[in-house]
Protein backbone atom coordinates (compact mmCIF):
# COMPACT_ATOMS: atom_id res chain seq x y z
CA UNK A 1 0.00 0.00 0.00
CA UNK A 2 1.41 3.33 -1.08
CA UNK A 3 0.21 5.26 1.95
CA UNK A 4 2.26 8.33 1.10
CA UNK A 5 0.54 8.61 -2.26
CA UNK A 6 -2.95 8.28 -0.80
CA UNK A 7 -2.05 10.93 1.74
CA UNK A 8 -0.56 13.20 -0.92
CA UNK A 9 -3.72 13.09 -3.06
CA UNK A 10 -6.03 13.38 -0.07
CA UNK A 11 -4.21 16.34 1.42
CA UNK A 12 -3.93 17.98 -1.97
CA UNK A 13 -7.67 17.66 -2.56
CA UNK A 14 -8.57 18.85 0.91
CA UNK A 15 -6.28 21.85 0.45
CA UNK A 16 -8.17 22.69 -2.71
CA UNK A 17 -11.37 22.85 -0.65
CA UNK A 18 -9.87 25.20 1.86
CA UNK A 19 -8.62 27.42 -0.93
CA UNK A 20 -12.14 27.57 -2.30
CA UNK A 21 -13.78 27.58 1.09
CA UNK A 22 -16.53 29.99 0.06
CA UNK A 23 -17.57 27.90 -2.86
CA UNK A 24 -17.20 24.56 -1.12
CA UNK A 25 -18.66 25.15 2.32
CA UNK A 26 -20.18 28.58 2.59
CA UNK A 27 -22.31 28.47 -0.54
CA UNK A 28 -24.20 25.30 0.42
CA UNK A 29 -24.70 26.61 3.96
CA UNK A 30 -26.18 29.84 2.64
CA UNK A 31 -28.45 28.09 0.17
CA UNK A 32 -29.66 25.66 2.85
CA UNK A 33 -30.40 28.58 5.17
CA UNK A 34 -32.44 30.14 2.40
CA UNK A 35 -34.45 26.93 2.06
CA UNK A 36 -35.18 27.07 5.78
CA UNK A 37 -36.24 30.67 5.60
CA UNK A 38 -38.51 30.08 2.61
CA UNK A 39 -39.86 26.57 3.19
CA UNK A 40 -39.39 26.26 6.89
CA UNK A 41 -40.42 29.65 8.21
CA UNK A 42 -42.37 31.44 5.48
CA UNK A 43 -44.31 28.62 3.84
CA UNK A 44 -43.83 25.99 6.50
CA UNK A 45 -45.69 28.00 9.11
CA UNK A 46 -48.83 27.57 6.98
CA UNK A 47 -48.30 23.88 6.44
CA UNK A 48 -49.57 21.53 9.09
CA UNK A 49 -47.18 19.21 10.79
CA UNK A 50 -46.38 16.00 8.90
CA UNK A 51 -47.25 13.04 11.10
CA UNK A 52 -46.50 15.04 14.19
CA UNK A 53 -43.27 16.64 12.97
CA UNK A 54 -43.28 20.36 12.17
CA UNK A 55 -42.77 21.01 8.48
CA UNK A 56 -39.55 22.94 9.13
CA UNK A 57 -38.04 19.98 10.96
CA UNK A 58 -39.50 17.51 8.49
CA UNK A 59 -37.51 18.90 5.56
CA UNK A 60 -34.13 18.92 7.36
CA UNK A 61 -33.05 15.39 6.33
CA UNK A 62 -34.12 16.03 2.75
CA UNK A 63 -32.17 19.27 2.61
CA UNK A 64 -29.05 17.57 3.97
CA UNK A 65 -29.43 14.83 1.35
CA UNK A 66 -29.89 17.41 -1.38
CA UNK A 67 -26.59 19.05 -0.43
CA UNK A 68 -24.78 15.75 0.09
CA UNK A 69 -25.77 14.50 -3.34
CA UNK A 70 -24.99 17.63 -5.30
CA UNK A 71 -21.80 18.44 -3.42
CA UNK A 72 -20.41 14.91 -3.45
CA UNK A 73 -20.93 14.73 -7.17
CA UNK A 74 -19.54 18.14 -7.96
CA UNK A 75 -16.51 17.81 -5.66
CA UNK A 76 -15.52 14.36 -6.83
CA UNK A 77 -16.18 14.99 -10.51
CA UNK A 78 -14.23 18.24 -10.47
CA UNK A 79 -11.40 16.65 -8.46
CA UNK A 80 -10.64 14.11 -11.17
CA UNK A 81 -11.80 16.08 -14.21
CA UNK A 82 -9.55 19.05 -13.55
CA UNK A 83 -6.23 17.16 -13.69
CA UNK A 84 -7.46 15.45 -16.84
CA UNK A 85 -8.31 18.83 -18.30
CA UNK A 86 -5.00 20.49 -17.40
CA UNK A 87 -2.94 17.39 -18.14
CA UNK A 88 -1.48 17.03 -14.64
CA UNK A 89 -3.09 13.58 -14.50
CA UNK A 90 0.09 12.32 -16.22
CA UNK A 91 1.79 12.30 -12.86
CA UNK A 92 -0.86 10.18 -11.15
CA UNK A 93 -0.84 7.74 -14.06
CA UNK A 94 2.95 7.42 -13.96
CA UNK A 95 3.11 7.01 -10.19
CA UNK A 96 3.52 3.66 -8.43
CA UNK A 97 -0.04 3.75 -7.20
CA UNK A 98 -2.91 1.28 -7.53
CA UNK A 99 -6.43 2.12 -8.56
CA UNK A 100 -7.72 1.49 -5.08
CA UNK A 101 -5.23 4.03 -3.79
CA UNK A 102 -6.27 6.58 -6.40
CA UNK A 103 -9.88 6.09 -5.31
CA UNK A 104 -9.03 6.34 -1.63
CA UNK A 105 -7.33 9.65 -2.30
CA UNK A 106 -9.83 11.33 -4.61
CA UNK A 107 -13.11 9.79 -3.48
CA UNK A 108 -12.01 9.78 0.15
CA UNK A 109 -11.35 13.51 0.03
CA UNK A 110 -14.62 14.27 -1.75
CA UNK A 111 -16.61 12.13 0.70
CA UNK A 112 -14.88 13.77 3.67
CA UNK A 113 -15.89 17.18 2.39
CA UNK A 114 -19.49 16.04 2.01
CA UNK A 115 -19.59 14.61 5.50
CA UNK A 116 -18.19 17.82 6.96
CA UNK A 117 -20.72 19.74 4.93
CA UNK A 118 -23.60 17.53 6.10
CA UNK A 119 -22.63 18.12 9.71
CA UNK A 120 -22.39 21.87 9.13
CA UNK A 121 -25.83 21.94 7.53
CA UNK A 122 -27.30 19.98 10.41
CA UNK A 123 -25.73 22.45 12.80
CA UNK A 124 -27.16 25.32 10.77
CA UNK A 125 -30.57 23.66 10.87
CA UNK A 126 -30.61 23.66 14.65
CA UNK A 127 -30.59 27.46 14.46
CA UNK A 128 -33.94 27.39 12.66
CA UNK A 129 -35.85 24.38 13.94
CA UNK A 130 -35.82 22.09 16.96
CA UNK A 131 -33.92 19.05 15.77
CA UNK A 132 -33.90 15.59 17.29
CA UNK A 133 -32.01 12.56 16.09
CA UNK A 134 -33.63 9.33 17.21
CA UNK A 135 -30.93 7.00 15.84
CA UNK A 136 -27.60 8.87 15.59
CA UNK A 137 -25.64 5.82 14.47
CA UNK A 138 -27.98 5.06 11.59
CA UNK A 139 -28.05 8.74 10.74
CA UNK A 140 -24.23 8.74 10.52
CA UNK A 141 -24.26 5.53 8.49
CA UNK A 142 -26.53 7.10 5.90
CA UNK A 143 -24.48 10.29 5.91
CA UNK A 144 -21.24 8.39 5.29
CA UNK A 145 -22.67 5.85 2.83
CA UNK A 146 -24.38 8.51 0.75
CA UNK A 147 -21.27 10.67 0.70
CA UNK A 148 -19.10 7.79 -0.46
CA UNK A 149 -21.61 6.49 -3.00
CA UNK A 150 -22.21 9.83 -4.64
CA UNK A 151 -18.55 10.78 -4.54
CA UNK A 152 -17.91 7.59 -6.48
CA UNK A 153 -20.69 8.54 -8.84
CA UNK A 154 -19.11 11.98 -9.23
CA UNK A 155 -15.72 10.37 -9.88
CA UNK A 156 -17.30 8.39 -12.73
CA UNK A 157 -18.83 11.55 -14.18
CA UNK A 158 -15.48 13.31 -13.90
CA UNK A 159 -13.85 10.56 -15.94
CA UNK A 160 -16.66 10.32 -18.46
CA UNK A 161 -16.94 14.07 -19.06
CA UNK A 162 -14.93 15.49 -21.93
CA UNK A 163 -16.00 19.06 -21.42
CA UNK A 164 -17.23 21.34 -18.68
CA UNK A 165 -20.85 21.10 -19.90
CA UNK A 166 -20.89 17.35 -19.46
CA UNK A 167 -19.58 17.84 -15.96
CA UNK A 168 -22.74 19.81 -15.18
CA UNK A 169 -25.28 17.95 -17.21
CA UNK A 170 -25.92 14.93 -14.99
CA UNK A 171 -26.05 16.87 -11.71
CA UNK A 172 -28.40 19.43 -13.27
CA UNK A 173 -30.62 17.29 -15.44
CA UNK A 174 -30.77 14.07 -13.45
CA UNK A 175 -29.71 14.46 -9.86
CA UNK A 176 -31.44 17.76 -9.05
CA UNK A 177 -34.88 16.72 -10.40
CA UNK A 178 -34.65 13.30 -8.77
CA UNK A 179 -33.77 14.93 -5.47
CA UNK A 180 -36.58 17.46 -5.63
CA UNK A 181 -39.03 14.74 -6.56
CA UNK A 182 -37.49 12.32 -4.08
CA UNK A 183 -39.49 13.37 -1.07
CA UNK A 184 -37.09 16.00 0.27
CA UNK A 185 -39.93 18.45 0.80
CA UNK A 186 -42.91 16.15 1.24
CA UNK A 187 -43.87 12.73 2.42
CA UNK A 188 -44.51 10.33 -0.43
CA UNK A 189 -47.95 9.46 0.93
CA UNK A 190 -48.99 13.09 0.42
CA UNK A 191 -49.02 12.28 -3.31
CA UNK A 192 -51.92 10.76 -5.30
CA UNK A 193 -51.59 6.95 -5.44
CA UNK A 194 -50.40 6.90 -9.06
CA UNK A 195 -47.50 9.23 -8.34
CA UNK A 196 -46.64 7.31 -5.22
CA UNK A 197 -45.91 4.30 -7.43
CA UNK A 198 -43.90 6.34 -9.93
CA UNK A 199 -41.85 7.77 -7.10
CA UNK A 200 -40.72 4.34 -6.05
CA UNK A 201 -38.55 4.23 -9.19
CA UNK A 202 -36.61 7.21 -7.92
CA UNK A 203 -33.55 6.01 -6.01
CA UNK A 204 -33.32 9.23 -4.02
CA UNK A 205 -36.62 8.39 -2.30
CA UNK A 206 -34.91 5.51 -0.52
CA UNK A 207 -32.02 7.67 0.65
CA UNK A 208 -34.22 10.45 1.97
CA UNK A 209 -36.65 8.03 3.54
CA UNK A 210 -33.98 6.09 5.41
CA UNK A 211 -32.19 9.22 6.48
CA UNK A 212 -35.40 10.79 7.72
CA UNK A 213 -36.26 7.66 9.64
CA UNK A 214 -33.03 8.02 11.64
CA UNK A 215 -34.31 11.42 12.79
CA UNK A 216 -38.02 10.97 13.37
CA UNK A 217 -38.74 7.29 12.80
CA UNK A 218 -40.88 8.41 9.87
CA UNK A 219 -40.28 6.56 6.61
CA UNK A 220 -41.89 6.18 3.21
CA UNK A 221 -40.30 2.78 2.71
CA UNK A 222 -38.81 0.37 5.19
CA UNK A 223 -35.35 1.13 6.58
CA UNK A 224 -33.92 -2.09 5.19
CA UNK A 225 -35.13 -1.34 1.72
CA UNK A 226 -33.45 2.04 2.03
CA UNK A 227 -30.15 0.55 3.13
CA UNK A 228 -30.43 -2.14 0.46
CA UNK A 229 -31.01 0.37 -2.32
CA UNK A 230 -28.09 2.49 -1.19
CA UNK A 231 -25.97 -0.65 -1.24
CA UNK A 232 -27.13 -1.49 -4.74
CA UNK A 233 -26.17 1.94 -6.01
CA UNK A 234 -22.82 1.82 -4.23
CA UNK A 235 -22.08 -1.57 -5.79
CA UNK A 236 -23.07 -0.27 -9.22
CA UNK A 237 -20.63 2.61 -8.88
CA UNK A 238 -17.84 0.34 -7.67
CA UNK A 239 -18.29 -2.01 -10.61
CA UNK A 240 -18.25 0.89 -13.06
CA UNK A 241 -15.08 2.30 -11.49
CA UNK A 242 -13.47 -1.12 -11.59
CA UNK A 243 -14.26 -1.34 -15.29
CA UNK A 244 -12.89 2.18 -15.90
CA UNK A 245 -9.60 1.34 -14.30
CA UNK A 246 -9.33 -2.04 -15.92
CA UNK A 247 -9.77 -0.64 -19.42
CA UNK A 248 -8.13 2.72 -18.82
CA UNK A 249 -11.32 4.30 -20.20
CA UNK A 250 -10.70 8.00 -20.87
CA UNK A 251 -7.63 7.88 -18.65
CA UNK A 252 -5.07 6.12 -20.82
CA UNK A 253 -4.70 6.23 -24.57
Amino acid sequence: MNIYAVKAIYVFEMARTFRTIYQSILAPVISTSLYFVVFGAAIGSRITAVEGVSYGAFIVPGLVMLSLLTQSISNASFGIYFPRFTGTIYEVLSAPISYVEILLGYVGAAATKSIILGVIILATATLFVPLQVAHPLIMLTFLVLTSITFSLFGFIIGIWADGFEKLQIIPLLVVMPLTFLGGSFYSVNMLPPFWQTVTLFNPVVYLVSGFRWSFYELADVSLWVSIGMTGVFLTGCLVTVWWIFRTGYRLKA
Binding site: Y4, A5, P96, A253
Partner: protein, 310 residues
Protein backbone atom coordinates in the same frame (compact mmCIF):
# COMPACT_ATOMS: atom_id res chain seq x y z
CA UNK B 1 31.39 1.53 -19.38
CA UNK B 2 28.80 -0.60 -17.72
CA UNK B 3 26.83 -2.34 -20.46
CA UNK B 4 24.20 -3.87 -18.22
CA UNK B 5 20.75 -3.09 -19.54
CA UNK B 6 18.22 -1.35 -17.28
CA UNK B 7 15.29 -0.90 -19.67
CA UNK B 8 14.48 -3.60 -22.13
CA UNK B 9 11.88 -3.01 -24.82
CA UNK B 10 10.86 -5.92 -27.01
CA UNK B 11 8.55 -5.89 -30.00
CA UNK B 12 6.71 -2.83 -28.79
CA UNK B 13 3.84 -1.60 -30.96
CA UNK B 14 1.20 0.99 -30.30
CA UNK B 15 -1.96 1.59 -32.27
CA UNK B 16 -4.07 4.45 -30.92
CA UNK B 17 -7.84 4.16 -30.69
CA UNK B 18 -8.39 5.96 -33.98
CA UNK B 19 -6.39 3.19 -35.64
CA UNK B 20 -3.21 5.22 -36.04
CA UNK B 21 -0.08 3.15 -35.54
CA UNK B 22 2.40 5.29 -33.64
CA UNK B 23 4.99 2.59 -32.89
CA UNK B 24 5.88 -0.46 -34.86
CA UNK B 25 7.82 -3.37 -33.43
CA UNK B 26 10.39 -1.38 -31.47
CA UNK B 27 13.28 -3.20 -29.79
CA UNK B 28 15.56 -1.17 -27.59
CA UNK B 29 17.91 -1.74 -24.67
CA UNK B 30 18.84 1.18 -22.46
CA UNK B 31 22.04 0.66 -20.51
CA UNK B 32 22.38 1.38 -16.86
CA UNK B 33 23.91 4.78 -16.22
CA UNK B 34 24.00 6.05 -19.78
CA UNK B 35 22.60 9.16 -21.38
CA UNK B 36 20.52 8.08 -24.33
CA UNK B 37 19.13 10.54 -26.85
CA UNK B 38 16.04 9.72 -28.82
CA UNK B 39 15.83 11.73 -32.01
CA UNK B 40 13.20 11.93 -34.66
CA UNK B 41 10.95 14.37 -36.48
CA UNK B 42 7.61 15.61 -35.10
CA UNK B 43 5.13 12.80 -34.73
CA UNK B 44 7.78 10.08 -34.97
CA UNK B 45 6.59 8.37 -31.79
CA UNK B 46 9.13 9.54 -29.22
CA UNK B 47 6.59 10.70 -26.66
CA UNK B 48 4.47 7.61 -27.24
CA UNK B 49 7.45 5.39 -26.47
CA UNK B 50 8.27 7.29 -23.28
CA UNK B 51 4.64 7.34 -22.16
CA UNK B 52 4.34 3.59 -22.53
CA UNK B 53 7.41 2.95 -20.39
CA UNK B 54 6.07 5.37 -17.76
CA UNK B 55 2.57 3.85 -17.66
CA UNK B 56 0.64 6.72 -19.22
CA UNK B 57 -0.17 4.96 -22.47
CA UNK B 58 -1.15 1.30 -22.80
CA UNK B 59 1.03 -0.73 -25.17
CA UNK B 60 -0.79 -2.61 -27.91
CA UNK B 61 1.83 -5.30 -28.27
CA UNK B 62 5.23 -6.13 -26.89
CA UNK B 63 6.90 -6.18 -23.55
CA UNK B 64 8.86 -3.67 -21.52
CA UNK B 65 10.89 -4.44 -18.43
CA UNK B 66 12.63 -2.00 -16.15
CA UNK B 67 15.40 -3.44 -14.02
CA UNK B 68 13.89 -6.87 -14.61
CA UNK B 69 10.32 -5.93 -13.63
CA UNK B 70 7.53 -5.96 -16.18
CA UNK B 71 5.94 -2.51 -16.50
CA UNK B 72 2.44 -3.95 -16.23
CA UNK B 73 2.67 -6.73 -13.67
CA UNK B 74 5.45 -5.03 -11.72
CA UNK B 75 4.31 -1.45 -12.16
CA UNK B 76 4.97 -0.46 -8.58
CA UNK B 77 8.62 -1.41 -8.81
CA UNK B 78 9.16 0.08 -12.27
CA UNK B 79 7.32 3.34 -11.75
CA UNK B 80 8.94 4.16 -8.45
CA UNK B 81 12.31 4.02 -10.22
CA UNK B 82 11.29 6.43 -12.95
CA UNK B 83 11.04 10.19 -13.03
CA UNK B 84 9.35 11.81 -16.02
CA UNK B 85 9.56 15.34 -17.31
CA UNK B 86 6.78 15.58 -19.89
CA UNK B 87 6.94 17.54 -23.09
CA UNK B 88 3.85 19.61 -22.36
CA UNK B 89 3.75 21.90 -19.34
CA UNK B 90 0.71 20.89 -17.35
CA UNK B 91 0.66 22.58 -13.95
CA UNK B 92 -1.70 23.17 -11.08
CA UNK B 93 -2.12 26.91 -11.50
CA UNK B 94 -3.03 27.68 -7.90
CA UNK B 95 -0.47 25.50 -6.17
CA UNK B 96 2.83 26.79 -4.88
CA UNK B 97 6.09 25.45 -6.22
CA UNK B 98 6.96 23.92 -2.87
CA UNK B 99 3.62 22.13 -2.52
CA UNK B 100 3.54 20.77 -6.01
CA UNK B 101 7.07 19.37 -5.74
CA UNK B 102 6.37 17.87 -2.32
CA UNK B 103 3.16 16.36 -3.69
CA UNK B 104 5.16 14.49 -6.32
CA UNK B 105 7.44 12.97 -3.73
CA UNK B 106 4.47 11.67 -1.77
CA UNK B 107 2.77 10.37 -4.88
CA UNK B 108 5.82 8.27 -5.63
CA UNK B 109 5.67 6.70 -2.21
CA UNK B 110 8.48 8.52 -0.45
CA UNK B 111 8.23 10.00 3.04
CA UNK B 112 8.53 13.77 3.24
CA UNK B 113 12.08 15.06 3.07
CA UNK B 114 12.19 18.85 3.02
CA UNK B 115 15.99 18.82 2.84
CA UNK B 116 15.94 16.93 -0.43
CA UNK B 117 13.24 19.15 -1.93
CA UNK B 118 15.26 22.17 -0.90
CA UNK B 119 18.41 20.94 -2.59
CA UNK B 120 16.50 20.03 -5.77
CA UNK B 121 14.90 23.47 -5.93
CA UNK B 122 18.25 25.13 -5.32
CA UNK B 123 19.99 23.11 -8.00
CA UNK B 124 17.35 24.31 -10.46
CA UNK B 125 17.58 27.95 -9.31
CA UNK B 126 13.99 27.80 -8.08
CA UNK B 127 14.59 28.34 -4.41
CA UNK B 128 13.50 31.98 -4.41
CA UNK B 129 10.29 30.93 -6.19
CA UNK B 130 9.32 28.22 -3.75
CA UNK B 131 6.29 30.09 -2.39
CA UNK B 132 5.13 31.35 -5.78
CA UNK B 133 1.97 30.01 -7.30
CA UNK B 134 2.57 28.06 -10.48
CA UNK B 135 0.57 30.49 -12.57
CA UNK B 136 2.99 33.30 -11.71
CA UNK B 137 5.96 31.48 -13.25
CA UNK B 138 7.39 31.89 -16.72
CA UNK B 139 7.44 28.98 -19.16
CA UNK B 140 11.08 28.17 -18.53
CA UNK B 141 10.48 28.21 -14.78
CA UNK B 142 7.52 25.86 -15.15
CA UNK B 143 9.72 23.51 -17.12
CA UNK B 144 12.21 23.53 -14.26
CA UNK B 145 9.47 22.89 -11.72
CA UNK B 146 8.50 19.81 -13.71
CA UNK B 147 12.11 18.69 -13.57
CA UNK B 148 12.09 19.30 -9.82
CA UNK B 149 8.92 17.20 -9.52
CA UNK B 150 10.57 14.37 -11.42
CA UNK B 151 13.67 14.55 -9.21
CA UNK B 152 11.71 14.93 -5.97
CA UNK B 153 11.46 11.17 -5.48
CA UNK B 154 15.09 10.38 -6.29
CA UNK B 155 14.51 8.33 -9.43
CA UNK B 156 17.15 5.98 -10.83
CA UNK B 157 15.91 6.58 -14.35
CA UNK B 158 14.98 9.98 -15.71
CA UNK B 159 13.00 10.62 -18.88
CA UNK B 160 13.35 14.11 -20.28
CA UNK B 161 10.91 14.73 -23.12
CA UNK B 162 12.29 17.82 -24.81
CA UNK B 163 13.50 19.37 -21.59
CA UNK B 164 15.10 22.40 -23.17
CA UNK B 165 12.27 23.60 -25.39
CA UNK B 166 11.74 27.22 -24.43
CA UNK B 167 14.66 27.39 -22.02
CA UNK B 168 17.23 30.13 -22.53
CA UNK B 169 20.85 29.41 -23.38
CA UNK B 170 22.32 30.02 -19.96
CA UNK B 171 19.74 27.89 -18.18
CA UNK B 172 20.17 25.21 -20.76
CA UNK B 173 23.81 24.96 -19.81
CA UNK B 174 22.84 24.75 -16.13
CA UNK B 175 20.36 22.07 -16.96
CA UNK B 176 22.92 20.00 -18.82
CA UNK B 177 25.34 20.36 -15.97
CA UNK B 178 22.61 19.05 -13.70
CA UNK B 179 21.95 16.14 -16.05
CA UNK B 180 25.64 15.27 -16.16
CA UNK B 181 25.74 15.43 -12.37
CA UNK B 182 22.82 13.03 -12.20
CA UNK B 183 24.49 10.70 -14.65
CA UNK B 184 27.64 10.80 -12.55
CA UNK B 185 25.59 9.80 -9.52
CA UNK B 186 24.36 6.75 -11.43
CA UNK B 187 21.03 7.92 -12.85
CA UNK B 188 20.16 6.62 -16.32
CA UNK B 189 18.89 9.40 -18.56
CA UNK B 190 16.76 9.15 -21.67
CA UNK B 191 16.07 12.40 -23.44
CA UNK B 192 14.43 13.58 -26.59
CA UNK B 193 15.39 16.81 -28.22
CA UNK B 194 15.15 18.65 -31.46
CA UNK B 195 18.38 20.50 -30.73
CA UNK B 196 20.73 18.03 -32.22
CA UNK B 197 23.82 19.72 -30.90
CA UNK B 198 22.50 18.81 -27.47
CA UNK B 199 22.37 15.14 -28.25
CA UNK B 200 25.79 15.51 -29.74
CA UNK B 201 27.12 17.19 -26.60
CA UNK B 202 25.33 15.09 -24.04
CA UNK B 203 24.47 11.62 -25.20
CA UNK B 204 26.57 8.52 -25.24
CA UNK B 205 24.19 6.71 -27.53
CA UNK B 206 21.63 7.91 -29.99
CA UNK B 207 18.47 6.31 -31.31
CA UNK B 208 16.67 7.63 -34.34
CA UNK B 209 12.98 6.97 -34.66
CA UNK B 210 10.95 7.78 -37.73
CA UNK B 211 7.29 7.04 -38.43
CA UNK B 212 7.10 4.72 -35.46
CA UNK B 213 10.11 2.60 -36.31
CA UNK B 214 13.44 2.71 -34.63
CA UNK B 215 15.71 3.03 -37.62
CA UNK B 216 19.01 3.21 -35.85
CA UNK B 217 20.63 2.86 -32.44
CA UNK B 218 24.30 3.52 -32.10
CA UNK B 219 27.09 4.91 -30.01
CA UNK B 220 27.11 8.56 -30.89
CA UNK B 221 30.77 8.46 -31.81
CA UNK B 222 30.32 5.41 -34.00
CA UNK B 223 27.37 6.99 -35.71
CA UNK B 224 29.27 10.10 -36.48
CA UNK B 225 32.22 8.11 -37.69
CA UNK B 226 30.12 5.77 -39.72
CA UNK B 227 27.98 8.29 -41.43
CA UNK B 228 30.18 11.29 -41.04
CA UNK B 229 31.60 13.04 -44.01
CA UNK B 230 34.73 14.96 -43.31
CA UNK B 231 35.91 18.08 -44.97
CA UNK B 232 39.52 18.99 -45.43
CA UNK B 233 40.00 22.72 -45.86
CA UNK B 234 43.16 24.03 -47.39
CA UNK B 235 43.80 27.72 -47.00
CA UNK B 236 45.68 28.62 -50.17
CA UNK B 237 48.35 31.25 -50.65
CA UNK B 238 46.93 32.32 -53.97
CA UNK B 239 43.46 32.12 -55.47
CA UNK B 240 42.78 29.55 -58.16
CA UNK B 241 41.26 30.19 -61.54
CA UNK B 242 39.14 27.08 -61.51
CA UNK B 243 40.24 23.62 -60.48
CA UNK B 244 43.16 22.25 -62.52
CA UNK B 245 42.46 19.23 -64.72
CA UNK B 246 44.97 17.12 -62.79
CA UNK B 247 42.75 17.43 -59.71
CA UNK B 248 39.46 16.75 -61.40
CA UNK B 249 39.35 13.24 -59.96
CA UNK B 250 38.83 14.61 -56.45
CA UNK B 251 35.63 15.93 -54.92
CA UNK B 252 36.89 19.50 -54.67
CA UNK B 253 35.34 22.89 -54.35
CA UNK B 254 37.02 26.26 -54.42
CA UNK B 255 35.68 29.07 -52.23
CA UNK B 256 37.02 32.31 -53.72
CA UNK B 257 36.03 34.61 -50.79
CA UNK B 258 38.17 32.79 -48.26
CA UNK B 259 40.62 31.40 -50.77
CA UNK B 260 39.90 27.89 -49.54
CA UNK B 261 39.98 24.61 -51.33
CA UNK B 262 37.51 22.16 -49.76
CA UNK B 263 37.90 18.43 -50.12
CA UNK B 264 34.99 16.25 -48.97
CA UNK B 265 35.73 12.64 -48.14
CA UNK B 266 34.46 9.80 -46.04
CA UNK B 267 36.54 9.40 -42.92
CA UNK B 268 35.73 5.71 -42.50
CA UNK B 269 36.89 4.60 -45.93
CA UNK B 270 39.99 2.53 -46.23
CA UNK B 271 41.40 5.08 -48.66
CA UNK B 272 40.39 8.60 -47.90
CA UNK B 273 42.38 10.01 -50.79
CA UNK B 274 44.06 12.57 -48.61
CA UNK B 275 47.60 11.49 -49.46
CA UNK B 276 46.83 11.36 -53.15
CA UNK B 277 45.31 14.81 -53.01
CA UNK B 278 48.24 16.34 -51.21
CA UNK B 279 50.68 14.77 -53.68
CA UNK B 280 48.61 15.97 -56.60
CA UNK B 281 48.51 19.48 -55.12
CA UNK B 282 52.29 19.47 -54.81
CA UNK B 283 52.67 18.41 -58.39
CA UNK B 284 50.27 21.11 -59.53
CA UNK B 285 52.33 23.66 -57.60
CA UNK B 286 49.46 24.75 -55.37
CA UNK B 287 50.71 25.86 -51.96
CA UNK B 288 48.76 26.44 -48.77
CA UNK B 289 49.51 27.94 -45.37
CA UNK B 290 46.95 26.19 -43.20
CA UNK B 291 44.80 23.07 -43.04
CA UNK B 292 41.79 22.12 -41.00
CA UNK B 293 39.23 19.36 -41.01
CA UNK B 294 35.58 19.44 -40.05
CA UNK B 295 33.31 16.53 -39.30
CA UNK B 296 29.63 16.72 -40.24
CA UNK B 297 27.35 17.25 -37.27
CA UNK B 298 24.76 14.87 -35.97
CA UNK B 299 22.14 17.19 -37.34
CA UNK B 300 23.40 16.74 -40.88
CA UNK B 301 23.58 13.00 -40.36
CA UNK B 302 20.08 12.98 -38.95
CA UNK B 303 18.58 14.95 -41.81
CA UNK B 304 20.30 12.59 -44.24
CA UNK B 305 18.89 9.56 -42.46
CA UNK B 306 15.34 10.80 -42.26
CA UNK B 307 15.19 12.06 -45.82
CA UNK B 308 16.74 8.84 -46.97
CA UNK B 309 13.95 6.94 -45.15
CA UNK B 310 11.33 8.89 -47.05
Amino acid sequence: MNKQSIISIQGLSKTYDGGFQALEDVDLEIRKGEIFALLGPNGAGKTTLINIVCGIVNPTEGRVTVDGHDIITGYRATRSMIGLVPQELPTEAFETVWNTVSFSRGLFGKPANPGHIESVLKSLSLWDKKDNKMMTLSGGMKRRVLIAKALSHEPRILFLDEPTAGVDVELRQDMWNLVRGLRDSGVTIILTTHYIEEAEQMAERVGVINQGSLILVQEKQELMDRLGNKQLRLHLHEPLQGIPASLSGFDLEFVPESCELVYTYHSQRERTGVTMLLLALGEAGITFHDVDTKQSSLEEIFVNLVTWEK
